[in-house]
């Protein structure tokens, strides 16, 4: 089933056009990596799918209903957006933080019910953060914080999880843990779209790659098709003298092919 469909979508911040005439779909069981240089519109695309931005042209559909006709509460029950940076001015504990994922389900005067607690608990178990539940969010390490942010998203019980730079500020060990987490969520049947900078981590977990560039239309394909030195070289505008380094970055793919 198709979860999200972009139809001729364009988006501009003021006069600066970021996305032009985008057509794409996100289906159940898909795991998509968005790759591209800074400023190519990766975060914008995720925000359009989460409906925190409205397209300037075209339409985004959630299960064939236009996002602009849906209430944000309804959207947030199917689509969870995990932003890159979250600043919390107060010392919320992990469970108070994750609790906010239940917002789209709560009535104005109603408190949390047992089903809300079950959802929060399951979200924390899936992300291996249940043991952190009494810790203060602002005092966690980068890797722990990233997992707790995903727990908040999972507390929304989404069908689609949008991750904005989930690997940012993570050391290599935590990056591997994050890949394992994405892999396990994918196997649980949650569709995932993540913007990724480290190309070597994509293969094996992600089913397809969306390659965005600053002026060319977006290219889609399997990781094998997309993560080729010649394609990356043009999209990321790498000088030819860096080609050996680029090959090194994506060698993972070649070794598997051999």
């Amino acid at each position: 089933m198709t979860l999200i469909e972009f139809v001729h979508v364009g988006f501009a911040y003021g006069s600066r056009s970021v996305i032009r005439d985008l057509d794409a779909t996100i289906s159940e069981n898909e795991c998509i990596a968005i790759v591209g240089p800074n400023g190519a519109g990766k975060t914008t695309l995720l925000r359009l799918a989460a409906a925190t931005l409205t397209p300037s042209r075209g339409e985004v559909y959630l299960k064939s209903k236009a996002l602009r006709d849906l209430k944000q509460r309804e959207i947030a029950r199917s689509v969870a957006f995990v932003p890159q940076n979250v600043e919390v001015p107060f010392s919320f504990t992990v469970e108070q933080f994750v609790e906010q994922g239940r917002t789209p389900f709560l009535k104005m005067f109603g408190g949390l019910g047992i089903s809300d607690y079950d959802a929060m608990r399951r979200a924390m178990e899936l992300t291996d953060t249940w043991s952190l539940r009494s810790r203060v969010f602002n005092q966690l390490s980068g890797g722990e914080r990233q997992r707790v942010k995903i727990a908040l998203g999972l507390a929304q019980r989404p069908q689609l999880l949008l991750l904005d730079e989930p690997m940012q500020h993570l050391d290599i060990g935590r990056q591997f843990e994050m890949i394992d987490l994405i892999d396990s969520l994918r196997r649980e049947g949650i569709a995932i779209v993540a913007s990724m900078h480290d190309l070597a981590l994509i293969e094996g977990t992600f089913s397809s790659v969306w390659l965005m560039s600053r002026d060319e239309p977006m290219q889609q394909g399997s990781p094998e098709e997309m993560l080729r030195p010649e394609i990356l070289e043009s999209v990321f505008r790498c000088s030819p003298r860096h080609r050996p380094r680029l090959v090194e970055r994506v060698r993972n793919r070649m070794e598997q092919a051999l």
Binding site: V86, E87, Q100, L106, E125, L126
Partner: protein, 356 residues
């Protein structure tokens, strides 16, 4: 499917729900408040022991006629006023801190109290006393002043959906200074020297006036509206703490919450200011201390803040009116002495954000 409960989580979450509850502080706070009221009622030039007071509530005969008059026309209204002012300022402080996502917000610091005084001054000095549905023009103008100033400060201090500490403090300082001096200006314009001036002086120093019971009833009513309105907002403020974009994504109507907090915070500020004038830092200290004890969840903080604010100001006002007896100290002096250093300490703790 993924959401089915696994074996690990097969035991129900009830135990966890129990462990999460943080309501235990409310009982002790309420008990302390009752105790403080009883002791405060007994303190002053004429000493009335607490047990006589309790006795009189039971049989109505333990008090002499003099004591009765002192208690019911002087002390208890004053104590009730302190209670309402303390609760109102603390809760509006909590709401503004949540809205600005900034633990340094306080109705005094961000100019909302100054706006209320300025509005009230217009009522006292420029307009004939009229009342609308039981509310004096003064109370209504105080509300309008609080609403106007907080809206202005909010608009001035916001940068990209955030409110940096420095921007908030500067905007609040500029707006409240202008408003305070506008109040002086109105006083100079006033021809009927005397009454108005005394009223203004007591407002600007933060003195809890000697209220009548009908005045108290109106303020209590405003506070009740404010508190009732804060209840559904408390959870929204938790969500808003994640930032406006994230809160919007989660389905919170950020614009509605923003307007509701500004209106309700202004009602509470206006109610408090109309009895006590510019009493500084109460709205800063009380929510902050409670956060250290029961954590930052606004749902649990709200009732605790109302009780603790009332308790704090009943105690502070009793000290203020007895410490240099027979003279009285404005309670605003006392809260400034306690709250000022506390504010500076908090500012120092958040220094990195203020001076990057």
């Amino acid at each position: 499917m993924v959401w089915e409960v696994t074996e690990a989580s097969a035991e129900p979450s009830h135990g966890w729900v129990q462990e999460r509850s943080q309501w235990w502080l409310l009982g002790p706070l309420a008990a302390l408040l009752v105790l403080a009221v009883l002791v405060a009622a007994g303190m002053g030039a004429v000493h009335v022991p607490a047990w006589h007071l309790i006795g009189s509530l039971i049989d109505g005969e333990s008090l002499s006629a003099d004591q009765r008059i002192i208690l019911f026309t002087i002390r208890l209204p004053r104590i009730a006023a302190a209670l309402l002012v303390g609760g109102g300022l603390s809760v509006s402080g909590l709401l503004f801190q949540g809205l600005f996502r900034n633990p340094l917000a306080d109705p005094y610091i961000i100019g909302s109290s100054g706006g209320a005084v300025c509005g009230a001054s217009i009522g006292v000095f420029l307009l004939p006393p009229v009342s609308l549905a039981g509310f004096s023009t003064t109370a209504i103008l105080a509300f309008a002043g609080a609403l106007g100033s907080i809206t202005l400060v909010y608009w001035l201090a916001r940068v990209d959906g955030r409110t940096p500490v420095l921007a908030l403090l500067l905007a609040g300082f500029a707006v409240s200074t202008m408003l305070s001096y506008s109040s002086y200006f109105l006083e100079v314009l006033d021809r009927d020297f005397g009454t108005g001036m005394r009223v203004l002086a007591s407002w600007l120093h933060g003195t809890i006036a000697q209220p009548t019971w009908p005045q108290l009833a109106i303020v209590a009513f405003m506070l009740a509206i404010g508190l009732a309105g804060s209840v559904p907002l408390a959870r929204s403020l938790n969500t808003l703490a994640l930032g406006e974009e994230y809160a919007t994504h989660l389905g919170l109507s950020v614009q509605q919450v923003r307007i509701a907090v500004i209106v309700i915070g202004s009602i509470l500020t206006a109610a408090a200011v109309s009895l006590g004038g510019l009493i500084s830092f109460v709205g800063l200290i009380i929510p902050h201390m409670l956060r250290m004890v029961i954590g930052p969840d606004h749902v649990r903080l709200l009732p605790a803040t109302a009780l603790a604010g009332a308790l704090f100001l009943v105690v502070a006002d009793t000290v203020a009116r007895t410490i240099i007896a027979p003279a009285e100290l404005p309670v605003g002096v006392l809260t400034a002495f306690i709250g000022g250093p506390f504010f500076l300490y908090l500012l120092r703790k958040t220094k990195q954000e203020v001076m990057p």
